[in-house]
Protein backbone atom coordinates (compact mmCIF):
# COMPACT_ATOMS: atom_id res chain seq x y z
CA UNK A 1 0.00 0.00 0.00
CA UNK A 2 1.15 3.52 -0.93
CA UNK A 3 2.45 5.35 2.11
CA UNK A 4 1.18 8.82 3.05
CA UNK A 5 3.44 9.53 6.03
CA UNK A 6 3.84 13.28 6.45
CA UNK A 7 1.21 14.09 3.85
CA UNK A 8 -1.02 16.93 5.02
CA UNK A 9 -4.34 18.19 3.75
CA UNK A 10 -4.44 21.98 3.70
CA UNK A 11 -7.65 23.98 3.57
CA UNK A 12 -6.92 27.13 1.59
CA UNK A 13 -9.05 30.26 1.74
CA UNK A 14 -8.62 32.32 -1.41
CA UNK A 15 -9.91 35.80 -0.63
CA UNK A 16 -10.38 36.90 -4.25
CA UNK A 17 -10.14 35.72 -7.86
CA UNK A 18 -6.45 36.70 -8.07
CA UNK A 19 -5.69 34.36 -5.18
CA UNK A 20 -7.79 31.59 -6.75
CA UNK A 21 -5.69 31.94 -9.90
CA UNK A 22 -2.52 31.76 -7.82
CA UNK A 23 -3.67 28.50 -6.29
CA UNK A 24 -4.55 27.19 -9.74
CA UNK A 25 -0.91 27.89 -10.74
CA UNK A 26 0.10 25.40 -8.05
CA UNK A 27 -2.20 22.84 -9.63
CA UNK A 28 -0.12 22.93 -12.84
CA UNK A 29 3.18 22.24 -11.06
CA UNK A 30 3.16 18.45 -11.48
CA UNK A 31 6.39 17.93 -9.54
CA UNK A 32 4.58 19.02 -6.37
CA UNK A 33 2.25 15.98 -6.77
CA UNK A 34 -0.68 17.92 -5.32
CA UNK A 35 -4.01 16.13 -5.00
CA UNK A 36 -6.91 18.56 -4.91
CA UNK A 37 -9.71 17.13 -2.79
CA UNK A 38 -11.80 20.24 -3.44
CA UNK A 39 -10.84 22.10 -6.61
CA UNK A 40 -10.29 25.84 -6.71
CA UNK A 41 -13.79 27.10 -7.49
CA UNK A 42 -14.10 30.72 -6.54
CA UNK A 43 -13.30 33.29 -3.90
CA UNK A 44 -14.63 32.33 -0.47
CA UNK A 45 -15.08 28.64 -1.37
CA UNK A 46 -12.61 26.43 0.56
CA UNK A 47 -9.93 24.65 -1.46
CA UNK A 48 -8.68 21.37 0.03
CA UNK A 49 -5.42 19.90 -1.19
CA UNK A 50 -3.39 16.90 -0.08
CA UNK A 51 0.30 17.87 -0.10
CA UNK A 52 3.07 15.24 -0.01
CA UNK A 53 5.67 15.70 2.72
CA UNK A 54 8.40 16.80 0.30
CA UNK A 55 6.22 19.60 -1.11
CA UNK A 56 4.76 20.97 2.10
CA UNK A 57 7.43 23.54 2.83
CA UNK A 58 7.42 25.06 -0.64
CA UNK A 59 3.61 25.12 -0.82
CA UNK A 60 3.31 26.87 2.54
CA UNK A 61 6.01 29.39 1.60
CA UNK A 62 4.20 30.03 -1.69
CA UNK A 63 0.86 30.61 0.04
CA UNK A 64 2.30 32.79 2.76
CA UNK A 65 4.34 34.85 0.29
CA UNK A 66 1.12 35.61 -1.60
CA UNK A 67 -0.83 36.35 1.56
CA UNK A 68 -3.15 33.39 0.94
CA UNK A 69 -4.48 32.04 4.22
CA UNK A 70 -4.74 28.34 4.95
CA UNK A 71 -5.17 25.92 7.81
CA UNK A 72 -4.15 22.32 8.26
CA UNK A 73 -7.21 20.12 7.84
CA UNK A 74 -5.41 16.81 8.30
CA UNK A 75 -2.05 16.81 10.11
CA UNK A 76 -0.92 13.42 8.85
CA UNK A 77 -2.92 11.45 6.30
CA UNK A 78 -1.11 8.21 7.12
CA UNK A 79 -2.25 8.22 10.74
CA UNK A 80 -5.91 8.48 9.64
CA UNK A 81 -5.37 5.64 7.17
CA UNK A 82 -3.83 3.47 9.86
CA UNK A 83 -6.80 4.25 12.11
CA UNK A 84 -9.15 3.22 9.30
CA UNK A 85 -7.26 -0.03 8.67
CA UNK A 86 -7.18 -0.79 12.39
CA UNK A 87 -10.96 -0.33 12.58
CA UNK A 88 -11.52 -2.62 9.61
CA UNK A 89 -9.28 -5.39 10.96
CA UNK A 90 -10.80 -5.06 14.44
CA UNK A 91 -14.17 -5.69 12.84
CA UNK A 92 -12.82 -8.69 10.92
CA UNK A 93 -11.36 -10.11 14.14
CA UNK A 94 -14.71 -9.71 15.89
Amino acid sequence: NKNFVGHQVLRIFAADEAQVQKVKELEDLEHLQLDFWRDPAGAGIPIDVRVPFLSIQSVKVFLESHGISYEIMIEDVQSLLEEEQKQMSAFKTR
Binding site: N1, V9, R11, D39, D48, I74, L80, E84, Q87, M88
Partner: protein, 309 residues
Protein backbone atom coordinates in the same frame (compact mmCIF):
# COMPACT_ATOMS: atom_id res chain seq x y z
CA UNK B 1 -21.33 -12.68 7.14
CA UNK B 2 -23.80 -15.57 7.09
CA UNK B 3 -26.70 -13.24 6.40
CA UNK B 4 -27.37 -9.61 5.69
CA UNK B 5 -28.61 -9.39 9.26
CA UNK B 6 -25.17 -10.23 10.63
CA UNK B 7 -23.33 -8.14 8.04
CA UNK B 8 -21.68 -5.07 9.60
CA UNK B 9 -22.87 -1.82 8.04
CA UNK B 10 -20.71 0.20 10.41
CA UNK B 11 -17.38 -0.63 8.81
CA UNK B 12 -15.77 -0.27 5.40
CA UNK B 13 -15.63 -3.37 3.22
CA UNK B 14 -13.57 -4.71 0.34
CA UNK B 15 -14.96 -5.28 -3.15
CA UNK B 16 -15.27 -9.02 -2.55
CA UNK B 17 -17.16 -8.48 0.71
CA UNK B 18 -19.57 -6.08 -1.02
CA UNK B 19 -20.18 -8.54 -3.88
CA UNK B 20 -20.74 -11.32 -1.32
CA UNK B 21 -23.23 -9.05 0.46
CA UNK B 22 -25.20 -8.46 -2.76
CA UNK B 23 -25.37 -12.20 -3.42
CA UNK B 24 -26.65 -12.77 0.13
CA UNK B 25 -29.30 -10.06 -0.32
CA UNK B 26 -30.51 -11.56 -3.60
CA UNK B 27 -30.64 -15.03 -2.05
CA UNK B 28 -32.65 -13.75 0.92
CA UNK B 29 -35.15 -11.77 -1.22
CA UNK B 30 -35.44 -13.50 -4.60
CA UNK B 31 -38.93 -12.04 -5.14
CA UNK B 32 -37.72 -8.48 -4.68
CA UNK B 33 -34.03 -8.26 -5.58
CA UNK B 34 -32.10 -9.39 -8.64
CA UNK B 35 -28.52 -8.75 -9.74
CA UNK B 36 -27.84 -7.56 -13.28
CA UNK B 37 -24.34 -7.54 -14.76
CA UNK B 38 -24.16 -4.46 -16.99
CA UNK B 39 -20.59 -5.01 -18.19
CA UNK B 40 -16.98 -5.63 -17.25
CA UNK B 41 -14.42 -3.08 -16.13
CA UNK B 42 -11.16 -2.22 -17.92
CA UNK B 43 -9.41 -4.84 -15.77
CA UNK B 44 -12.17 -7.39 -16.35
CA UNK B 45 -14.14 -7.17 -13.11
CA UNK B 46 -17.95 -7.59 -13.38
CA UNK B 47 -20.09 -4.46 -12.93
CA UNK B 48 -23.34 -5.19 -11.09
CA UNK B 49 -26.58 -3.31 -10.62
CA UNK B 50 -29.14 -4.45 -8.05
CA UNK B 51 -32.73 -4.26 -9.31
CA UNK B 52 -35.51 -3.95 -6.73
CA UNK B 53 -38.81 -4.78 -8.41
CA UNK B 54 -42.23 -6.05 -7.32
CA UNK B 55 -43.33 -6.99 -10.80
CA UNK B 56 -44.50 -5.41 -14.02
CA UNK B 57 -42.51 -5.12 -17.20
CA UNK B 58 -39.96 -2.34 -17.68
CA UNK B 59 -41.64 -0.19 -15.09
CA UNK B 60 -40.58 3.43 -14.61
CA UNK B 61 -37.37 3.28 -12.57
CA UNK B 62 -35.18 5.27 -10.22
CA UNK B 63 -31.38 4.89 -10.56
CA UNK B 64 -28.99 5.39 -7.66
CA UNK B 65 -25.25 4.91 -7.97
CA UNK B 66 -22.42 5.20 -5.44
CA UNK B 67 -18.65 4.97 -5.67
CA UNK B 68 -18.01 6.35 -9.15
CA UNK B 69 -15.01 8.05 -7.50
CA UNK B 70 -13.42 5.10 -5.78
CA UNK B 71 -11.88 6.85 -2.76
CA UNK B 72 -15.22 8.20 -1.61
CA UNK B 73 -15.71 5.17 0.61
CA UNK B 74 -18.66 6.48 2.61
CA UNK B 75 -20.72 6.36 -0.60
CA UNK B 76 -20.29 2.64 -1.35
CA UNK B 77 -20.83 1.95 2.37
CA UNK B 78 -24.05 3.99 2.25
CA UNK B 79 -25.12 2.11 -0.89
CA UNK B 80 -24.88 -1.17 1.01
CA UNK B 81 -27.03 0.27 3.77
CA UNK B 82 -29.61 1.55 1.24
CA UNK B 83 -29.87 -1.93 -0.30
CA UNK B 84 -30.62 -3.53 3.05
CA UNK B 85 -33.02 -0.71 3.98
CA UNK B 86 -35.09 -1.24 0.84
CA UNK B 87 -35.57 -4.93 1.62
CA UNK B 88 -36.42 -4.17 5.27
CA UNK B 89 -38.88 -1.38 4.56
CA UNK B 90 -40.82 -2.75 1.62
CA UNK B 91 -44.21 -3.72 3.04
CA UNK B 92 -43.43 -1.79 6.23
CA UNK B 93 -42.86 1.82 5.24
CA UNK B 94 -45.87 3.18 3.31
CA UNK B 95 -43.82 5.61 1.22
CA UNK B 96 -41.28 3.05 0.05
CA UNK B 97 -44.01 0.47 -0.47
CA UNK B 98 -45.96 2.87 -2.67
CA UNK B 99 -42.83 3.61 -4.68
CA UNK B 100 -41.95 -0.05 -5.23
CA UNK B 101 -45.54 -0.99 -6.01
CA UNK B 102 -45.30 1.23 -9.09
CA UNK B 103 -41.62 1.72 -9.84
CA UNK B 104 -38.33 -0.17 -9.82
CA UNK B 105 -35.19 0.94 -7.99
CA UNK B 106 -31.82 0.31 -9.66
CA UNK B 107 -28.80 0.54 -7.34
CA UNK B 108 -25.18 0.35 -8.50
CA UNK B 109 -23.11 0.21 -5.31
CA UNK B 110 -19.60 -0.07 -6.79
CA UNK B 111 -19.62 2.02 -9.95
CA UNK B 112 -15.83 1.99 -10.31
CA UNK B 113 -14.72 -1.52 -9.24
CA UNK B 114 -11.14 -1.30 -10.56
CA UNK B 115 -10.52 1.97 -8.77
CA UNK B 116 -12.16 0.69 -5.59
CA UNK B 117 -10.06 -2.48 -5.54
CA UNK B 118 -6.99 -0.29 -6.05
CA UNK B 119 -7.88 1.88 -3.03
CA UNK B 120 -7.81 -1.28 -0.92
CA UNK B 121 -4.72 -2.87 -2.44
CA UNK B 122 -2.41 0.00 -3.29
CA UNK B 123 -3.51 3.63 -3.03
CA UNK B 124 -6.35 4.67 -0.74
CA UNK B 125 -6.45 8.06 -2.42
CA UNK B 126 -7.25 6.71 -5.92
CA UNK B 127 -10.19 8.47 -7.59
CA UNK B 128 -10.25 7.57 -11.28
CA UNK B 129 -10.67 4.40 -13.37
CA UNK B 130 -7.58 2.25 -14.02
CA UNK B 131 -7.57 2.43 -17.80
CA UNK B 132 -4.31 3.08 -19.66
CA UNK B 133 -3.84 6.11 -21.88
CA UNK B 134 -1.72 5.56 -24.97
CA UNK B 135 1.33 7.82 -24.97
CA UNK B 136 1.14 8.57 -21.27
CA UNK B 137 2.59 6.96 -18.17
CA UNK B 138 -0.34 8.24 -16.16
CA UNK B 139 -3.28 5.97 -15.51
CA UNK B 140 -7.02 6.45 -15.27
CA UNK B 141 -9.80 8.74 -16.38
CA UNK B 142 -12.15 10.71 -14.15
CA UNK B 143 -15.42 8.84 -14.74
CA UNK B 144 -17.37 11.93 -13.79
CA UNK B 145 -15.88 13.92 -16.70
CA UNK B 146 -16.23 11.23 -19.37
CA UNK B 147 -19.92 11.57 -20.22
CA UNK B 148 -21.21 12.98 -23.50
CA UNK B 149 -22.51 16.23 -22.07
CA UNK B 150 -20.34 19.24 -22.77
CA UNK B 151 -17.49 16.76 -23.18
CA UNK B 152 -14.20 18.50 -23.87
CA UNK B 153 -15.44 21.90 -22.76
CA UNK B 154 -13.87 23.80 -19.85
CA UNK B 155 -14.36 22.03 -16.52
CA UNK B 156 -12.23 18.95 -17.16
CA UNK B 157 -8.59 18.33 -18.00
CA UNK B 158 -7.01 17.00 -21.21
CA UNK B 159 -3.93 15.99 -19.20
CA UNK B 160 -3.92 12.20 -18.49
CA UNK B 161 -2.04 12.90 -15.24
CA UNK B 162 -4.77 15.17 -13.89
CA UNK B 163 -7.35 13.91 -11.38
CA UNK B 164 -10.04 15.39 -13.62
CA UNK B 165 -8.74 13.91 -16.90
CA UNK B 166 -11.76 13.53 -19.16
CA UNK B 167 -10.42 10.72 -21.38
CA UNK B 168 -9.69 10.66 -25.10
CA UNK B 169 -13.39 10.68 -26.06
CA UNK B 170 -16.80 10.58 -24.41
CA UNK B 171 -17.74 7.17 -22.99
CA UNK B 172 -14.16 5.95 -23.47
CA UNK B 173 -14.45 4.34 -20.03
CA UNK B 174 -16.27 1.02 -20.08
CA UNK B 175 -17.56 1.76 -16.58
CA UNK B 176 -19.35 4.79 -18.06
CA UNK B 177 -20.35 3.18 -21.37
CA UNK B 178 -21.97 0.27 -19.50
CA UNK B 179 -24.31 2.67 -17.71
CA UNK B 180 -24.99 4.65 -20.88
CA UNK B 181 -26.02 1.48 -22.72
CA UNK B 182 -28.11 0.26 -19.81
CA UNK B 183 -29.95 3.58 -19.42
CA UNK B 184 -30.61 3.86 -23.16
CA UNK B 185 -31.78 0.24 -23.46
CA UNK B 186 -34.01 0.60 -20.41
CA UNK B 187 -35.55 3.82 -21.71
CA UNK B 188 -37.87 4.33 -18.73
CA UNK B 189 -35.66 5.75 -15.98
CA UNK B 190 -37.35 8.76 -14.40
CA UNK B 191 -34.83 9.80 -11.75
CA UNK B 192 -31.04 9.45 -11.69
CA UNK B 193 -29.08 10.06 -8.48
CA UNK B 194 -25.29 9.83 -8.45
CA UNK B 195 -23.70 9.88 -5.00
CA UNK B 196 -20.27 11.31 -4.21
CA UNK B 197 -18.51 12.69 -1.16
CA UNK B 198 -17.59 15.06 0.41
CA UNK B 199 -18.88 18.65 1.03
CA UNK B 200 -22.54 18.11 1.93
CA UNK B 201 -24.12 19.36 -1.30
CA UNK B 202 -27.17 18.43 -3.35
CA UNK B 203 -26.59 19.45 -6.96
CA UNK B 204 -28.61 19.42 -10.16
CA UNK B 205 -27.74 20.22 -13.80
CA UNK B 206 -26.00 21.90 -15.36
CA UNK B 207 -22.30 21.72 -14.67
CA UNK B 208 -20.95 22.35 -18.17
CA UNK B 209 -22.95 25.49 -18.90
CA UNK B 210 -24.34 28.40 -16.92
CA UNK B 211 -27.55 28.21 -18.96
CA UNK B 212 -30.21 27.19 -16.41
CA UNK B 213 -31.79 23.76 -16.90
CA UNK B 214 -35.31 24.10 -18.37
CA UNK B 215 -36.95 22.90 -15.15
CA UNK B 216 -34.33 24.24 -12.74
CA UNK B 217 -37.03 25.86 -10.57
CA UNK B 218 -38.69 22.50 -9.95
CA UNK B 219 -35.31 20.89 -9.31
CA UNK B 220 -34.37 23.65 -6.89
CA UNK B 221 -37.61 23.24 -4.93
CA UNK B 222 -37.22 19.46 -4.84
CA UNK B 223 -33.61 19.82 -3.71
CA UNK B 224 -34.73 22.13 -0.93
CA UNK B 225 -37.31 19.60 0.26
CA UNK B 226 -34.73 16.82 0.11
CA UNK B 227 -32.06 18.64 2.13
CA UNK B 228 -34.71 19.68 4.65
CA UNK B 229 -35.68 16.05 5.12
CA UNK B 230 -32.01 15.10 5.43
CA UNK B 231 -31.35 17.74 8.08
CA UNK B 232 -34.39 16.64 10.11
CA UNK B 233 -32.49 13.64 11.50
CA UNK B 234 -29.23 15.07 12.86
CA UNK B 235 -29.28 18.68 11.70
CA UNK B 236 -26.66 18.05 8.99
CA UNK B 237 -26.63 21.11 6.79
CA UNK B 238 -26.49 20.78 3.02
CA UNK B 239 -26.17 23.44 0.35
CA UNK B 240 -28.10 22.94 -2.86
CA UNK B 241 -28.15 24.39 -6.34
CA UNK B 242 -26.91 23.82 -9.88
CA UNK B 243 -23.44 22.32 -10.23
CA UNK B 244 -21.92 25.32 -11.97
CA UNK B 245 -23.41 27.86 -9.56
CA UNK B 246 -22.70 25.92 -6.37
CA UNK B 247 -19.20 24.57 -6.95
CA UNK B 248 -17.55 25.05 -10.34
CA UNK B 249 -17.78 24.28 -14.02
CA UNK B 250 -17.62 20.53 -14.54
CA UNK B 251 -17.96 19.28 -18.10
CA UNK B 252 -18.74 15.69 -19.08
CA UNK B 253 -20.43 14.92 -15.77
CA UNK B 254 -22.96 12.19 -15.14
CA UNK B 255 -26.16 14.03 -14.34
CA UNK B 256 -25.78 16.56 -17.14
CA UNK B 257 -25.86 13.60 -19.53
CA UNK B 258 -28.78 11.88 -17.82
CA UNK B 259 -30.71 15.16 -17.73
CA UNK B 260 -30.08 15.66 -21.45
CA UNK B 261 -31.41 12.13 -21.99
CA UNK B 262 -34.72 13.41 -20.62
CA UNK B 263 -34.33 12.09 -17.07
CA UNK B 264 -35.77 15.18 -15.42
CA UNK B 265 -34.97 14.35 -11.80
CA UNK B 266 -31.17 14.13 -12.05
CA UNK B 267 -29.16 14.88 -8.93
CA UNK B 268 -25.64 14.57 -7.56
CA UNK B 269 -25.10 14.22 -3.81
CA UNK B 270 -21.88 15.12 -2.03
CA UNK B 271 -22.17 13.40 1.36
CA UNK B 272 -20.41 14.12 4.64
CA UNK B 273 -18.37 15.83 5.75
CA UNK B 274 -17.61 19.50 5.04
CA UNK B 275 -13.86 19.02 5.53
CA UNK B 276 -12.50 17.64 8.76
CA UNK B 277 -11.83 14.11 7.45
CA UNK B 278 -12.89 14.50 3.85
CA UNK B 279 -12.52 11.16 2.03
CA UNK B 280 -11.24 9.56 5.25
CA UNK B 281 -14.54 9.83 7.07
CA UNK B 282 -14.42 7.57 10.14
CA UNK B 283 -16.51 4.39 9.83
CA UNK B 284 -18.50 5.49 12.89
CA UNK B 285 -20.19 8.04 10.61
CA UNK B 286 -21.28 5.54 7.94
CA UNK B 287 -24.68 4.66 9.40
CA UNK B 288 -25.65 8.19 10.44
CA UNK B 289 -24.64 9.41 6.97
CA UNK B 290 -26.65 6.67 5.26
CA UNK B 291 -29.70 7.23 7.47
CA UNK B 292 -29.91 10.97 6.84
CA UNK B 293 -29.21 10.57 3.12
CA UNK B 294 -31.97 7.99 2.88
CA UNK B 295 -34.51 10.60 3.97
CA UNK B 296 -33.43 12.83 1.10
CA UNK B 297 -33.55 9.92 -1.35
CA UNK B 298 -37.06 9.01 -0.21
CA UNK B 299 -38.15 12.62 -0.78
CA UNK B 300 -36.84 12.59 -4.35
CA UNK B 301 -38.25 9.11 -5.08
CA UNK B 302 -41.68 9.95 -3.66
CA UNK B 303 -41.78 13.17 -5.69
CA UNK B 304 -40.83 11.21 -8.82
CA UNK B 305 -43.63 8.73 -8.12
CA UNK B 306 -46.16 11.55 -7.66
CA UNK B 307 -45.04 13.53 -10.69
CA UNK B 308 -45.01 11.10 -13.59
CA UNK B 309 -43.87 12.48 -16.97
Amino acid sequence: ARSTDTFSYATYHTLDEIYEFTDLLVAEHPQLVSKIQIGNTFEGRPIYVLKFSTGGNNRPAIWIDTGIHSREWVTQASGIWFAKKITEDYGQDPVLTAILDSMDILLEIVTNPDGFAYTHSTNRMWRKTRSRTQGSLCIGVDPNRNWDAGFGEPGASSNPCSETYRGKFANSEVEVKSIVDFVQNHGNIKAFISIHSYSQLLLYPYGYTSVPAPNHKELDELAKSAVTALASLYGTKYTYGSIIDTIYQASGNTVDWTYNQGIKYSFTFELRDTGRYGFLLPASQIIPTAKETWLALLTIMEYTLNHPY
